[in-house]
């Protein structure tokens, strides 16, 4: 959240420029992102992103909390897929403290993790189509997301801020009909997804808006630390579920999805394919998960002084990590959250400059950022 520097205000040679504030209160910025755009006609000559309007400094609050008390705060980072935020912290603490996770809890966490990926991608479909001017897919996506949130609520007690994962497993047992509800939901969703595709990635106007727009070269993507669907749409097969498997992912059978194009359309199509993949993973979990057994592992939550660990998971927006440093106390001495949206947002000026004003919206939407996670 900074002022423009004089160098940023210097005129671009050869351009008749007009500065436009895109945000912080703007329908297309998905929160309180502010981008100062210089536009010459409809052509973007400069783009300066400003963040921090939603900054809460979670990391400072977490320093004065115990490990268990930190988890509810994590939900608030990426509020669209709340459960996913809890997992890297739990994994890091489990590794440092040597807490075992029972097999059943691993499957539960994996299934809920993938369910949150579905929720997040549905919200993305809706809001992105809203950016592009179509209202209907937005309401369809939120209609189907309700069913997923209901399952989360019946299991965890919360809809978006569940506070469910804990060190060694999950906080409480699932409701008796969890697996039936889950498979029923993914069966329904699999039938509906072709409708979404007909309205979004396969629609001609959508293709006209997104094909060839905001191309991110793979080398640049890796160097800028881009992760998640943005990276894989650029052709880099990096997926922590495969490359550094955690929880039940080693036992599940799936392929890393990549696309070559690297443009907005590839990112959109890839997310649609990931929805199918998540459905398949949830089915595998439902098939393989043991129906009985403990949901919470035993272990003493004691981390020696000076231990540190960086642990990351593949969340719906990319690599969601936490750097944990312990001084042996009851809570984290320092926990830094590496949020995918924050890192992905860095390429925004590179993608924006030279595009048309309408394309700015098409690119920003396809990046799929959540400002709660960017500003933390």
């Amino acid at each position: 959240m900074t002022m423009l520097r004089p160098t940023e205000l210097a005129p671009v040679p050869g351009a008749q420029e007009m500065l436009v504030n895109l945000g912080p209160q703007h329908p297309a910025t998905h929160g309180v992102l502010k981008v100062v755009l210089g536009i010459d006609g409809e052509r973007v000559t400069r783009a300066v992103p400003h963040i921090g309007f939603l900054h809460r400094n979670h990391e400072k609050i977490e320093e004065s909390r115990t490990y268990h008390q930190v988890i509810p705060y994590l939900d608030r980072m990426d509020y669209v897929s709340g459960l996913q935020n809890e997992l890297p912290f739990c994994l890091a603490v489990e590794e440092l403290a040597g807490i075992e996770v029972p097999e059943r809890a691993k499957y539960l966490r994996t299934a809920l993790f993938e369910l949150n990926r579905i929720i997040s991608h549905l919200v993305w479909i809706g809001t992105y189509m809203l950016d592009l001017g179509a209202i209907t897919p937005f309401l369809y996506a939120f209609r189907d997301r309700e069913a997923a949130l209901d399952i989360v609520e019946r299991t965890t007690g919360g809809r978006m801020l569940p506070n469910y994962f804990t060190f060694g497993g999950v906080r409480r047992d699932i409701n008796p009909r969890f697996w039936q509800e889950l498979t029923g939901f993914v069966d329904y969703l699999e039938g509906v997804l072709p409708e979404y595709e007909a309205l979004t990635v396969e629609a001609p106007v959508f293709r006209a808006r997104t094909v060839g727009i905001g191309v991110l070269p793979p080398a640049m993507a890796i160097n800028h630390g881009i992760s998640g669907p943005m990276l894989r749409a650029s052709g880099v097969a990096h997926d922590l579920r495969k490359d550094q498997p955690y929880d039940a992912y080693p036992w599940l059978d799936f392929e890393v999805i990549t696309r070559r194009e690297g443009d907005s359309w590839a990112r959109s199509k890839l997310r649609c394919q990931e929805l199918y993949q998540s459905i398949d993973l949830i089915r595998q979990c439902a098939r393989k998960a043991p129906r009985t057994g403990p949901y919470l592992g035993k272990g003493r939550l004691k981390i020696e002084a000076g231990r540190q660990r960086y642990r990351a998971v593949e969340a719906s927006r990319g690599q969601l990590g936490v750097y944990l440093y312990s001084d042996g106390g009851p809570g984290p001495y320092r926990s830094k959250h590496r949020s995918p949206s924050f890192t992905n947002l860095q390429v925004l000026p590179d993608l924006f400059v030279g595009q048309r004003f309408s394309d700015v919206i098409a690119i920003l939407g396809s990046m799929d950022i959540v400002l709660g996670e960017v500003d933390r």
């Binding site: 436009v20 536009i39 179509a134 309401l139 106007v205």
Partner: protein, 416 residues
């Protein structure tokens, strides 16, 4: 780390009357908007529209019934003034009521296909929602930005609205039911559309807002470009029929609609009129996710209401013109073969009135179906980008409309 010093909580009893209690009011309209309702409300709205349109169309005849205004079979000076004022007021009412009905229909239709209820709370199944909205717009503060050009800022919505109103004057709703039965009706349609572009540009420029300016410029580029295919496709009808008078064009379609030989022009007209209405997928001038609200960003109150009513009035008027030019206007389908209106006309004076109402029914039905097509597209499509919009116009529609013109000339030479 010092422990957080937290002020002690105030221990106060909760007053029971401050606790929120849901009001379980009698609520009869908790149901979906079904096909049956659609039909019944459609009939209701048809009756309303038919009443207004009838009065509006019979205005020249009515005014001549007052002896004071008639001098030697023509209207006197005062008569013309009164006639003009009455026509303006009635035209405003017709456009406003059409817009209100269409807004409600659009909202209900979108709600239906989006699995929601839509307006629900005012009137049966929310029927009076748009009336309530109109009243709200009327009583809202009429705000003018400090650095705006006040005169132009005030004038711009009126220009946009009047251009929509002009279209209404030349449309024949039934045989003889037309305000200005002029021999240059088609030219008036083209001229009115061009004036509207000025209003939008001035609105965007005068409001001293960057988004407004961008939206105004986009709208001007769009409206002026799409005037060309629109005018060319209208021209084909004139070539085919051989007249610029809309009544004559309608009469020429007694048996066969113009849409059959001129299908290319019809397609061009429909796409171009979508752009003229500024409806999805061509709603760039007011793309809310890019330009906040485009050229009407700074407008509020009734000035915004003028834009809104003009836009939805055009959602009625441009399909109405399409019906007049391509779909046989007030004629029932295949009227040259057997016409129920002729049967009604055989009953004498009142039968003629009924025949006109029958024609009005067909006219409004066709218009409603075309408007529904626009709404359906709006529910489905995202919007284009500005350069794609221009490419579509200059590289596809204009060549296509020229082809349509050539086809019309050849067909006329062959068949007539």
């Amino acid at each position: 780390m010092v422990p957080q010093d937290r002020p002690a909580l105030r221990s106060i009893p909760i007053p029971k009357d401050r606790r929120y209690q849901p009001r379980h009011v009698g609520y009869s309209a908790l149901k979906r908007f079904t096909v049956r309702e659609l039909l019944s409300y459609g009939l209701l709205f048809f009756a309303l529209a038919a009443l207004l349109v009838t009065i509006y169309s019979l205005l020249p005849w009515l005014i001549k019934q007052v002896p004071a205004f008639v001098v030697g079979g023509e209207l006197s000076g005062w008569g013309q003034v009164v006639y003009g004022v009455l026509a303006a007021i009635l035209g405003f009412t017709v456009v406003a009521v059409a817009a209100l009905i269409l807004i409600l229909m659009l909202r209900k239709y979108l709600a239906l296909v989006q699995n929601r209820y839509g307006p629900l709370h005012y009137g049966p199944a929310g029927a009076f929602q748009t009336v309530a909205d109109a009243i709200k717009l009327l009583v809202k503060e009429d705000f003018t930005p400090g650095k705006a050009d006040r005169l132009v800022f005030t004038l711009a919505p009126l220009i946009v609205f009047v251009s929509a109103l002009l279209l209404l004057t030349v449309i024949p709703f039934a045989p003889g039911w037309v305000l200005a039965d002029t021999s240059v009706g088609l030219l008036i349609i083209i001229a009115a559309g061009t004036i509207g572009a000025y209003g939008v540009l001035l609105a965007g420029w005068s409001s001293d807002n960057k988004f407004g300016l961008l939206g105004g410029l986009r709208a001007t580029a769009q409206l002026i470009s799409y005037e060309i295919p629109l005018a060319l496709s209208l021209l084909t009808v004139a070539v085919w029929v051989g007249s610029l008078n809309l009544s004559a064009i309608v009469e020429a379609q007694r048996m066969w609609w113009t849409a059959l030989p001129l299908v290319i022009s019809l397609l061009v007209y429909l796409i171009a009129s979508l752009a003229e209405i500024k409806m999805v997928p061509f709603d760039l001038p007011e793309a809310e996710s890019e330009l906040v609200a485009g050229f009407n960003t700074e407008y509020s109150g009734m000035r915004f209401g003028f834009f809104f009513v003009a836009e939805f009035g055009e959602l009625f008027l441009l399909p109405a013109i399409a019906v007049t030019l391509f779909f046989g206007g007030y004629h029932q389908p295949l009227a040259g073969w057997w016409d129920f209106a002729e049967v009604l006309r055989g009953w004498g004076g009142f039968g003629e009135f009924l025949a006109n109402l029958y024609g009005l029914f067909w006219f409004l039905l066709k218009t409603a179906l075309l408007s529904w097509l626009v709404m359906w597209l709006r529910a489905t499509l995202p919007r284009f980008r500005d350069d794609q919009l221009m490419e579509l116009c200059w590289k596809v529609l204009i060549p296509l409309s020229l082809v349509g013109l050539v086809v019309a000339v050849v067909l006329r030479l062959v068949f007539k």
